[in-house]
Symmetry: C2
DNA sequence: ATGTTAAAAGAGTCTTTTGTCTTAATATGA
DNA sequence: TCATATTAAGACAAAAGACTCTTTTAACAT
C-alpha cells in the first residue's frame, strides 16, 4: 500500500538529487546509485524513461551522465510521476472501479475526488528547485 | 499505482455491499462474489481477515454467510483498511524512506504529511451506514 | 586505431500480489 | 445417518513488480 511505486520513488529521489547538486554538469548514474543506495541498473532504466520524456538529458562517455533537461524551477514532481507511472492515480478510483467520474459516482467519490485533486495540485506545485534547496543545505534528507 | 491494494478494494466493496442490504441476516459470500464480480475464493480469504479482526461475523452451513459484527454506524472504512493492509499508508513516506517523521523530514514532508492525515481522517469519518444508504437507493454504484 | 568511460537495451531471476483449486470443518434438515 | 450448504484453510498457478546481469552503442582520450 504505497501511493507511488518503487520505481517512481527512485525517480523522484534521483531527480531531486541531481537538482540539489546545483551545477549543470552531467552526473553519472553510478554516483546517484551509490549515494542514494539504489540498484544501478534498475535506476538506469527508470532514468531512461525520464530522458525519453524530455525531463532529463543524458550524455555518454567519459564525464557523461545525466542532467536536467530544463531549469529546475520548470520541472514539477507531477511531471516526473506521470513519466514513470503508467496508470495515473489522479484519475483512478479508490475502489478500482472503471468509468470513474462525477456522473457515475461510487460511494467514496465525494471524499476521494477532492483528496485526489488536492494531491495532484500539490505534486504539480512542487518543483525541483523549491525542494532541492533545503537538500543542498543539508536540512532535508533523500536517504534512510 | 493505487492508494490501496486490490484485496483492500474488494474488502471495502464487500463491506459496503453487506451494509447496503440493511437486514441483519447472513449474506453468503457466493452472493457477494457474484454481484460484485469478485473471485469467490479470493474474496473469502479477504473476508476472513475482517472476521478475524472482529469487523464481520460468519456462520457456516445452510442460510449461513457473513454479517456485520457491529452496527453499520460503528464501522469506519479506516478500520477495514487497517484490518486488510499490513503496512499503513497513513504512516509511511511518499518517498519510501524509513524513520519517517517531523524530526527527519524528506523534501516532500511538509506537503505529504498534511495530505496523509487528511486522507486518514477522511477514511475514519466514513462509516458503513453513511455510505451504504445511497447504494441501497441505487444512487451510488459498487461495480463497473 | 585502441582502450576506457558511460548510458541504452534487453534477457533473465526473484519476490509479492493476485487469483485458482482442492480439501477440510461446521451447520442444517430430511 | 446422510446429503447439502456454507465458511476455513492451505496448496498451487499466474501475473506484475522489483531487481540483476550481459551485451551493445556512443563519446572521449591517448
Ligand atoms: S466515482 Fe469517485 S470514488 Fe468512485 S470510482 Fe469514480 S472517482 Fe473513484
Ligand atoms: S519526512 Fe514526511 S515526506 Fe519524508 S519520509 Fe517522512 S513522512 Fe514522508
Amino acid at each position: 500500500m504505497a501511493l507511488i511505486s518503487k520505481s517512481c520513488e527512485y525517480g523522484l529521489r534521483a531527480a531531486l538529487f541531481i537538482a540539489a547538486r546545483g551545477d549543470n554538469g552531467f552526473v553519472p548514474i553510478h554516483d546517484i546509485s551509490r549515494d542514494l543506495g539504489i540498484s544501478f541498473h534498475f535506476l538506469t532504466k527508470i532514468l531512461q524513461k525520464l530522458t525519453q520524456n524530455g525531463l532529463l538529458k543524458s550524455y555518454r562517455g567519459p564525464s557523461g551522465g545525466i542532467a536536467l533537461a530544463r531549469k529546475a524551477h520548470d520541472i514539477s514532481l507531477l511531471e516526473i510521476v506521470r513519466a514513470i507511472e503508467e496508470h495515473d492515480i489522479f484519475s483512478t478510483c479508490v475502489l478500482g472501479l472503471k468509468n470513474c467520474g462525477d456522473s457515475t459516482p461510487c460511494p467514496l467519490h465525494q471524499h476521494w475526488a477532492r483528496e485526489r485533486t488536492r494531491i495532484e495540485s500539490s505534486f504539480g506545485s512542487m518543483t525541483l528547485d523549491k525542494l532541492s534547496k533545503p537538500i543542498a543545505n543539508g536540512t532535508l534528507r533523500l536517504t534512510d
